[in-house]
Amino acid sequence: MKPGHKFLFGAVLIVGSVGLLMFQGVKETGVYFLTPTELASKASADPTFHNVGVKMGARVVPGSVVRDAATQTVDFKVTDGTQVYPVTYRGLVPDTFTDASDIEVVVEGRLGADGVFHATDVLAKCGSRYEATPEAPAA
């Protein structure tokens, strides 16, 4: 075998294993990223969809946040305007997670058969976080 061919063989081996690793990686670690409405339609179409790990992107319903500092549990509701889901999460929420205004959150976890979303991770993204809009002085 010529060196050029040998190299080609090695190259195919590397490219192939990268491809395989990526394919398996997506298959085994990929999670759905859904809005509450999409989650509702998937869960009603397929009851086994409960307890599948998903990410849900939505807004926190203002005023719905209930914190229990002693057990480090946070309960709140999220919505995309049509579908509302209660979420329960045990752990520390990020600084940007407040119920002062309707902030965007991404919750990762699973929808239980009880209709409550059990989150294992909460990410908060505040639209005004780095792009603050100045407000007119109050008259």
């Binding site: 590397i14 990526m22 670690t29 990223f33 859904l34 505040c126």
Partner: protein, 676 residues
């Protein structure tokens, strides 16, 4: 002042377009006066944008809150150095920053590039002008930093507290300097294609520039990791977030380029590959800016969505299509001068290194874009996170680490059994001994064992090189050991600087393994209560909550929680973590409260304390404690990497003559060693 700034942007636009049109018309090729005009358009562009930048800074420093940008990112009580950094803290300002820095870089490139490449320079000016024009266009038509508000707020919003950190003052400009300076090598590559001067001349002309970009990008990435670690409070430094990935992508392709370019210099191979890599690096750096600044991909870091994204997307498409079309039409002129002769050769090792780096880049790009791709193809958004990236990249990273040891030592063209034996017996044995020691010691985690074992092998190769070089110098010049050490590096900066970079890389790899052993615990403690945590090394921490105190500081209200730390019964002192509520000069709260973590760092591990808040306003506090092994080594490795990179590019250490001397020195070393 905004009028002046606005006016300068328009002037810059006109100069840029004029210079670019003249450059690409090619009319200057037999008109020296026009050639000078093209070059001067580069200088004029830099001057116009400097005026624009100064007027933005003037607005920031004079608290002209009628300017939207000034009101959005500063406040009266913001410390001065953060006002400086507010220039690039927001989208609009960072676009101006991009444009002005690129214009200055291109002026410097015109100024310092040797006359030998004079026939490339007008085209270089044309390419850089076009890129600057793109940024100026975005500013003028979509994100104007000089836009005024319809009213005058009495105070600005202030800078986001998470950006009020010295790492964050330096991180974006470093990253941007890296992104931006890539444009210069790209411009030379395009100029070479346009001029059909496809020897390796353009590569020699830009070697320093690629190293400069690489060093800036490396500093930017490491600072970003450090900022995430001390400021974001989740306890890690790398989350495979889209914005982090975006900075990693051009770094990968540039690293590949820095290696494969050596093969072109020495053997005249890989010409097409090198051109493709430099084009890809440029596109990825624009892509990085696009990801960071457009919010197309949901990221915790990214800015709100805006139509700036469409400009970037359009520019990426046009630049990509034009560059690769040009490459395609010159394909036949880029015939390699030599062929691969053996799999056991430096060429082959470098080729595999390039494949692995590009493979990593591809998988990272794929994973970053996967939510968009899956939505387009299958109709539902699927995201991949750290498990995906680690799964794909850890094996590839280990393969690369092994090549880091093999590449620099294996012979060019075809390695003989003698070469292999001479170079590898000791380092491989050292790697095996270390691996065995770890296993005997009871470590059972495959990847960490492999990382440390391979790291030991690479370290062995570098130490062996330094040892041989020092010995040869001592024999030939009778120098002392430290003298020989310094002269060795000073006389062969490229080679030994490169080895130092490799040491940085292997240390970084080993430091990363520490995260596999991290320990995490959350606790709610009343004053006086304590918990115990076991360190992965076997010791025990006792953490006692002392209390929470509140006070006012410069531009914030602080609640500080203090913890007494004992390790194996010995006191290590008191640590604190804060919750900060930033306020404006009227005492009104700005932004959400932010957390200031407490970190105690030593060579073995970091103790990382996050105070998450109090229970109903009492002094009962909620904490998260994390033990992160080997984090100090990440920062140290970053510094080694950067020092090595700077040594490699230090003026005087390059050039063709220097390369010849290096080779001669190497042969002398060989002879010296053979006689031993």
């Amino acid at each position: 002042m905004t009028l002046l700034g606005q006016f300068s942007l328009w002037v810059a636009l006109l100069i840029g377009v004029f210079g670019a049109v003249l450059s690409f018309s090619g009319k200057w090729q037999d008109r020296p006066d026009l050639e000078r005009t093209v070059i001067r358009s580069s200088y004029a562009l830099a001057a116009a944008l400097l005026v624009a930048s100064l007027s933005l800074w003037k607005g920031l420093f004079s608290h002209d809150f009628n300017i939207e940008y000034v009101a959005a990112y500063t406040s009266r009580n913001l410390p001065t150095y953060y006002i400086v950094s507010a220039f690039w803290a927001g989208q609009k300002g960072s676009l101006l920053f991009w444009a002005v820095v690129l214009a200055c870089f291109s002026a410097v490139a015109q100024w310092i590039t040797s006359r030998r490449y004079a026939d490339l320079l007008p085209y270089v000016a044309g390419v850089t002008n076009i890129v600057v024009v793109f940024f100026v266009t975005v500013m003028l038509f979509a994100a104007n930093p000089f836009a005024r508000l319809a009213f005058i707020p009495e105070d600005g919003r202030g800078l986001n507290p998470q950006l009020q950190n010295i790492g964050m003052v330096m991180h974006p400009p470093m990253l941007y300097l890296g992104y931006i300076s890539v444009t210069i090598p790209f411009a030379f590559a395009i100029a070479a294609l346009l001029r059909r001067r496809l020897d390796s001349g353009w590569i020699v002309a830009i070697r320093k520039w690629t190293l400069v970009s690489w060093v800036f990008l490396s500093i930017g990435i490491v600072l970003g990791m450090w900022w995430a670690y001390v400021e974001l409070g989740w306890g890690g430094y790398w989350a495979w977030d889209p914005v982090e990935n975006a900075s990693f992508l051009p770094w990968l392709t540039m690293t590949a380029f820095l290696h494969s370019v050596m093969i072109q210099e020495k053997r005249g191979m890989l010409k097409r590959w090198n051109l493709s890599l430099i084009v890809a690096t440029f596109l990825l750096s624009i892509f990085g800016t696009f990801i960071t600044r457009s919010g197309v991909i949901a990221s915790v870091h990214s800015f709100t969505q805006s139509n700036v994204g469409y400009f970037f997307l359009g520019f990426l498409l046009v630049a990509g299509v034009l560059s690769f079309t040009m490459l395609y039409t010159r394909w036949d002129e880029l015939e390699p001068d030599a062929k691969l002769e053996s799999m056991l050769s430096r060429e082959a090792a470098f080729l595999f290194n390039n494949l692995a780096l590009v493979g990593i880049a591809f998988s990272v790009l794929w994973g970053t874009l996967f939510p968009i791709l899956s939505e387009a193809v299958r109709g539902s958004k699927i995201t991949v996170g750290p498990p995906f990236f680690n799964r794909v990249n850890v094996p590839l990273g280990l393969f690369l680490l092994a090549l880091t040891g093999i590449g620099p030592l294996i012979a060019w063209r075809k390695a003989t059994a003698r070469n292999l034996q001479r170079q590898f017996v000791l380092p491989v044995s050292f790697g095996l001994v270390v691996t065995l020691a770890l296993v005997i010691d009871g470590m059972r985690d495959l990847y960490p064992i492999m990382t440390i074992g391979l790291g030991a092998f690479v370290l062995g190769t570098v130490v062996q090189e330094f040892y041989r070089g020092i010995r040869a110098r001592r024999r030939m010049h009778g120098e002392s050991i430290p003298g020989a050490f310094f002269n060795l590096i000073a006389r062969n900066r490229r080679r030994y600087g490169g080895y130092i970079v490799h040491v940085g890389i292997l240390l970084m790899f080993i430091a990363f393994t520490g995260m596999a052993f991290r320990v995490d615990q959350e606790a709610t403690l009343k004053p006086g209560e304590s918990i115990e945590m076991r360190s992965p090394y076997g010791g025990t921490y006792k953490l006692t909550h002392l209390g929470v105190s509140q006070y006012n500081a410069l531009n914030r209200v602080v609640s500080a929680a203090t913890v007494q730390v004992d390790y194996n019964g010995k006191s290590l002192g008191v640590m604190k973590s804060e919750k900060r509520q930033h306020v404006d000069s009227f005492g009104r709260p700005t932004f959400e409260p932010s957390t200031e973590v407490g970190i105690r760092s030593d060579l073995k591990e970091d103790l990382y304390i996050v105070y998450a808040g109090s229970v109903n306003g009492t002094e009962e506090a909620v904490y998260r404690f994390t033990i992160n092994p080997l984090v100090w080594w990440v920062w140290f490795a970053g510094m080694v990497l950067v020092v090595g990179g700077i040594l490699t590019m230090w003026p005087g250490g390059g050039g063709i003559a220097e390369t010849r001397r290096t080779q001669a020195g190497y042969e002398a070393t060989l002879v010296g060693a053979e006689n031993a």
